[in-house]
Amino acid sequence: MNRILLEKLQLHFGHASFRPGQREIIERLLSGQNVLAILATGGGKSVTYQLPALLLPGITVVVSPLISLMIDQVQQLRTRRRIPAAYVNSSQDPAESREILRELGNGVYKLLYISPEKLQQPYIQSVLKRIGVSLVAIDEAHCISQWGHDFRTDYLRLPDAIKHLGNPPVLAVTATATEDVRKEISQLLQIAQENVMSQPLNRENIALDLVRVSDEGERREQVLQLMDELKGPGIVYCSTRNAVEVLVASYQLQGSKRVHGYHGGMESMERMLIQSQFLLGELDVIVATNAFGMGIDKPDIQYVIHYQLPSSMEAYAQEIGRIGRNGQPGYAVLFYVEDDWQIHQHMVEKEYPTQLQVMQFFQAFKTAASANKDAWGPTEMTEEMVQMLTFYAEQTGLDQEVAAASDSGAEHVQRIWQETEKRKRLKKQKLYEMLRYVEDVNDCLRKKLNRYFGEEQVAFTLHCCSCCGLDRQAYQGDRTNTTNKKDENSWDLRQALEKLLPKK
């Protein structure tokens, strides 16, 4: 067995040996046990289900919430690793999904990536059941936990779906999970205590810095200066698109590095180009919202600056976790102004419904209008909010019949609203934890961060944190002007084309 595992690892993934934890996870899955794996981002998550997929008879189903991530992974599997894989999600048109399901029935694929809501569909379940599912891997498994910072209602329906597939072994993987979240995942997916496996969360090569500034002007000045001084490549995270644009514009007035913004409001082609430029080292700094970074594999990121307070410790850990995956010392600094929390508070308030909105939802639900998107127009509810409300309505045992029989539905409205309020409080609690991290100035940052995730390790490579003492200069680079590397060569169309499309 050992030899086969290593051979496959070498053949398909090009690694000579396993990273810590990988082999144990794979062996337990192959012996039919459910496993929860807490693996740092970039810690070789995907191998833990892609390798078993090759060895097991039927198909491995990978549940993932992010369409772009699915597409990237399938593309890489096909071209780099020569493993037949496909995906089914809402970005496809029905004809495309049908074609994939047909091929699936013929046993063409070893891995199927699927979004959680697609896995609920009875037809897809029946196809999968017929060909036999050997393993279900759940990516971003913390989304199943109501205690998680990124709870998704359609994840909560996964245990049912797995039952319909004949209870194959389950692998739940996540990068960040507090003790509560681990417990909830294990309980929902029936994972035994001894099968919860985690890599140490502590990132020894990242130094943690925290800077409290009195106002926006001071913050901007300091961050602009750091962007010039620190050795890149680096990422600056901002809370809003507007902050991204303002920071980039002010940097470009005097800064000397190659810097570009990245956020969800940009055109997709532009985003693709910027991301590729960064990956290939043609940009030194990306200033981004949290839309940037998921699924990005760039091992040499040297620093992450948080321009503002992040929304939770989980988000913070994930974002700084992108530093130094090559093992080199890296630097994370968080700037905050006292009232930074207000923007997050505001976003949370907007995300969850008011009592009035729940009442409006109930009336629309009753008249079976929930299928018709236009019906929600006057209530100013986002699609996400309607989805969330539909989920909680079902959770409280509400269906169209029950609703029709009840007049105002006061009782149901109350129960649904209480559920959403619970979620809202939890989000605020996460924000509060984040605030505690920055407000409590007398304790070691590494200790606080790791303790939040239930760990006590405090080892570090170069520096620990600003509380224990760190020397910023160690992370500064030479300030050579990279933008002025203009080639003044005379233009030649043929040459330019041959660079792009060389003669065969």
Binding site: D72, Q75, Q76, T79, R80, S91, Q92, D93, E96, Q252, L253, H260, E267, S268, M269, E270, M272, L273, I274, Q275, S276, Q277, L280, E282, K486, W491, L493, R494, A496, L497, E498, K499, L500, L501, P502, K503, K504
Partner: protein, 370 residues
């Protein structure tokens, strides 16, 4: 404000006032904004057509309302344009161009070489073609470049599924792949060598492949210390010239001409069947004749007419529906606050047919589309 943003502001004023000149005294101030943004409403499409504003249509698809308002207030402040109040309670306010405005517009026109960059835009639909052409070309070049380097593990720059599928189809067979790899560079050279050097640089600089990642137009603008708004003009010019050349002489560039072939053989605004009906309508055939010729029911032809009224603003439907009757139907619909054919018909009686009501409502609907 630095020099670059002053220049950008000037350029936007230049484009805006030149687009506004033919619209003066007839349309609202906003009409030019809709044209520059490329709004797809019937009113906008009609204006483009009527006032020959083809080069301006979709010139800046990402033009923001704030940017626009800044431009308008500058033009008003400088007294290049003046606002005109509505003449009657039902008409809309308009604007006129001052003498100073006309002079300034001329001056700007030559300073920014507007005539030169606008020259290829003499027909409607080119603006949409440009976008499709560029996306296809971009992904095609990237894919062929990766094929040539033997590495297919790349992020496609274009995420649009339809474009990806189109490129896949082009490269489906082994022979086609060989051809594209062997000849794409050469054909691009033939296609682009007549273009000015700065346009060539703009096109190539944005392309991605195995050896380079494309720059965004904004990045190229920063390099050249130009505004990205301005670079949009030579860029569009390059693409429009490419398309026109490929349409004119497809034989000379057999591979690249695939990019401009319209795969659907019918007017794509309509369903295939309605489009067939439309060609017969344009030949002057009556409903009965069309139903006979196409061996379909008269009621189906009537469905098609309603569809055409909705989607083809250039169609003159007065043979079926006089303007006064149309106005009466709309008025009735508004008065009764309904679009239900039955209610309107009950109200108006035998004088109108269901077809006429449908045409009138479809026309109104078409105008509301944004």
């Amino acid at each position: 404000m630095n020099n670059r943003s002053i220049a950008a502001q000037d350029f936007l004023c230049a484009v805006t006032i030149n687009a506004m000149i033919p619209l003066a005294n007839e349309r609202t101030l906003q009409a030019a904004f809709y044209i520059l943004r490329g709004r797809k409403a019937n009113q906008t499409l009609q204006d483009v057509h009527l006032y020959h504003l083809y080069p301006y249509y979709r010139m800046f698809p990402r033009f923001s309302k704030e940017d626009w308002e800044k431009i308008v207030s500058t033009l008003l402040q400088e007294e290049l344009i003046v606002q005109l109040p509505a003449v009657t309670p039902t008409s809309k306010p308009s604007f006129s161009i001052t003498e100073k405005g006309i002079d300034q517009a001329e001056q700007w026109k030559s300073a920014f070489q507007l005539d030169r960059w606008n020259e290829p835009f003499t027909e409607s639909g080119l603006a949409e073609k440009i976008e499709l052409f560029w996306q296809r070309l971009h992904l095609l070049v990237q894919t062929v470049s990766q094929l040539l380097s033997g590495d297919l593990g790349f992020f496609p720059v274009v995420s649009d599924k339809k474009i990806q599928q189109w490129v896949k189809n082009q490269l489906a067979s082994h022979t086609a792949r060989e051809q594209w790899q062997k000849r794409l560079g050469e054909e691009l050279h033939t296609l682009w060598s007549p273009l000015p050097e700065d346009v060539q640089k703009l096109l190539i600089g944005q392309l991605s492949g195995a050896t380079q990642v494309g720059k965004t137009l904004g990045q190229l603008a920063a390099q050249q210390k130009e505004s990205a708004f301005y670079l949009q003009l030579p860029f569009r010019y390059g693409l429009a010239m490419s398309i026109l050349q490929l349409q004119e002489d497809p034989v000379r560039l057999p591979l690249l001409s695939h990019l401009v072939v319209q795969t659907e053989k019918w007017d794509t605004r309509l369903t295939e069947s309605a489009a067939r009906t439309y060609t017969l309508v344009q030949r002057g055939m009556s409903i009965e004749q069309i139903a006979d010729a196409r061996k379909i029911k008269k009621s189906t032809v009537e469905d098609h007419l309603a569809e055409i009224a909705l989607r083809c603003p250039e169609w003159d439907c007065s043979a079926y529906l006089e303007p006064t009757l149309s106005a009466l139907i709309i008025q009735t619909s508004e008065q009764l606050q309904t679009s239900r054919l039955r209610l309107i018909k009950d109200h108006l009686g035998e004088a109108v047919s269901y077809l006429q009501i449908r045409l009138a409502l479809a026309r109104r609907q078409g105008e509301r589309w944004t």
